[in-house]
Subunit: 200 residues, 2 copies
């Protein structure tokens, strides 16, 4: 492996919200991605996260309207039919397996979801982390018991939009935007702007 | 890039707590790792995390006793002189850049720290996420202002121990252990044990 493979794939792994809905993802691929989540580190080694796959089109249609899309694109209600996600991985907390404070669960969730999205990008699959949804409505829709608490939805598919990173001025505007050609631009803080010297 | 590069590097990226202290890590490499953290996704695109590098041996010696090591190895107080980390990346919250709830910050922290550790593993460098430390003591030691809140310490170095994953029985013991040859064993839940069917 070259020295910058990880950098290349991290750079490529951008949030995508429009998909080629006719291109499905196999169950085997999705299970492989969850296996990457499984292999991530976990605080106290609790491994309290579990995962539900939603791929059936009827179930996808039930989940879709429960999700909040792209807070800063206020005139865009989310992807239209034909460009919607083809699969969702619902990340849940198994409360029976959780021993530590809540913060640790969310660190685990960041690790796990990043593993999934990096492995997906390697296969040309992209996605979006969605935390803005009614946990109760999703729980009811999937007939979840009390033991499991929905934390995050990963919406996945083959991409139908281009996403580019933009340099952000120090403490500039953090809001992403779409240009006239529907290219999605994401401002990123620069390295010098996130390095702190002792005594700061 | 092959189809399983990400899986290989994720599998390789294990928590290591004993290092070859004579092998230092260059400032350039460390800044490159923080750049990987920078490139990770961030809720609301806030990018509220910042990073302080601790590499100077005097500073490392001041930080080391403030850290908690390997909760389950109760008779092991942490790495001895000669096998201690050669660098620390302190991950902090810049409270002036934080717009969302705390949970989102910790997801960002999982993503960022995973990017760092994956990029490190690609270079033969390993580390340990340490959340068990006195935030106040570390803040005082580094003369941090109120604006910045220490969240996590990444201890880094070239490894001086072997870590292997072990299959864990369903809801078996989550505690890692060291064997007589000082090999570190980490039980991992199996895939079938973390996949949930609707109606669970």
């Amino acid at each position: 492996m070259g020295k910058n493979m990880i950098q290349d794939i991290i750079r490529k792994t951008r949030t995508v919200r429009k998909f080629q809905e006719e291109m499905k993802i196999s169950q085997e691929t999705l299970l492989g991605l969850i296996d990457l989540a499984r292999l991530g580190g976990s605080a106290r080694n609790c491994q309290p996260l579990c995962y539900m796959l939603i791929t059936d089109s009827e179930q996808c249609e039930k989940i879709f309207p429960l999700l909040g899309w792209a807070g800063y694109l206020s005139d865009w209600p989310g992807p239209e039919p034909g460009e919607r996600p083809v699969a969702y991985i619902l990340c849940l907390l198994d409360t029976k397996r959780c021993k530590g404070p809540e913060n640790e669960v969310y660190i685990d969730l960041g690790i796990a979801s990043q593993n999934i999205l990096l492995g997906a990008a390697e296969r040309g699959i992209f996605g979006c982390r969605i935390g803005a949804f009614s946990k109760d409505a999703v729980g009811r829709s999937l007939a979840l018991g009390n033991r499991y608490k929905p934390l995050l939805v990963l919406a996945l598919g083959y991409p139908a939009e281009e996403v580019v990173l933009e340099k952000m001025e120090q403490d500039g505007d953090i809001r992403y935007w779409r240009d006239a050609d529907s290219v999605h631009h994401v401002p990123k803080r620069q390295l010098s702007d996130i390095i702190l010297e002792p005594g700061s």
